[in-house]
Point group: C2
Chain length 167, copies 2
């Protein structure tokens, strides 16, 4: 009806989409004996591997907001599942390199690969101009969320927000 409704619908669409993607990931994880955290770790590791970056337990834990103990447990699980392998860094022998096994590649590929294929197929029904618009839109939304994330983090301890708990 009014110009106010369409944007609000988009907000709900955005949330709905993230919910679906979350559920998709959660079900994939559960179906493969993984926890959501394990899956996020796997994604991070695969991304890094593709970018040719070296991942250590420290970096992984930082990315996932886990403490060192939790990270060790996570790496143990992934290693036990045969998805990654530990290897001492010969340059700095305090460090441990996390190497992704083929099994993990296949797991990620066979699953997300299918989804990505479907997404690309659906995109083919949009014109180049439309895709460009969608891209700009997604970028704008991502920027807003990222900025809001920064903002609320600063609020905590300064503004009128109660910000309870936290000893």
């Amino acid at each position: 009806m009014s110009e106010v409704e369409e944007p609000m619908r988009l907000v709900h669409l955005l949330r709905g989409l993230t919910v679906e993607l979350d559920l998709f990931g959660a079900e994939f994880a559960a179906g493969n004996g993984l926890h959501p955290t394990d899956l996020r770790a796997l994604i991070h590791l695969l991304d890094a591997a593709r970018a040719g970056e070296v991942v250590t337990p420290g970096r992984l834990g930082e990315a996932l907001r886990l403490n060192s103990a939790g990270t060790t447990g996570l790496v143990d699980r992934l290693e036990r599942l045969g998805l990654i392998r530990r290897e001492r860094d010969p340059q700095d022998r305090r460090r441990v390199r996390l190497l992704v096994e083929d099994r993990a590649m296949e797991l990620g590929q066979g699953f997300f690969g299918g989804l990505i294929g479907d997404l690309l197929a659906a995109m083919r029904r949009f014109g180049p101009g439309e895709l460009e618009t969608a891209g700009r839109f997604l970028e704008a939304m991502t920027t807003v969320v990222a900025a809001a994330r920064q903002g609320t983090r600063e609020q905590r301890g300064g503004g009128a927000t109660p910000a309870r708990g936290s000893s």
Copy 2:
């Protein structure tokens, strides 16, 4: 070449956006002494309240894919935080209605409200036609993910959706 690259860029944008939204939610949760599950429950409850639907522990647990025991624990936590209230259904006294307290409304409003305002502001920089395109795009992507979710569930020797327990 750009005809192949642009869609792939969109895929990564989608994932990046969901990651940002997830982190946003997780930080909000942590900042308020909630767990991710608690937050998801709260969103579900607020949605239902706005739609005028009655939520019972059973329905909530089903929506969040939680065990009845886990659901009881979840409801206990939310009640202890003063976010919801239990109330026996006078029609069917086996049932418990989950009533959202004002405090929960404020929590959701004061936080997501701000984000939504920012998102709407950013959308104002797009024309009506562009917003329509973005909406169709989001709908298409959501449909694909939802369909993929169904597909993989069936792959898993599943059969009729268990809806609960089983496995």
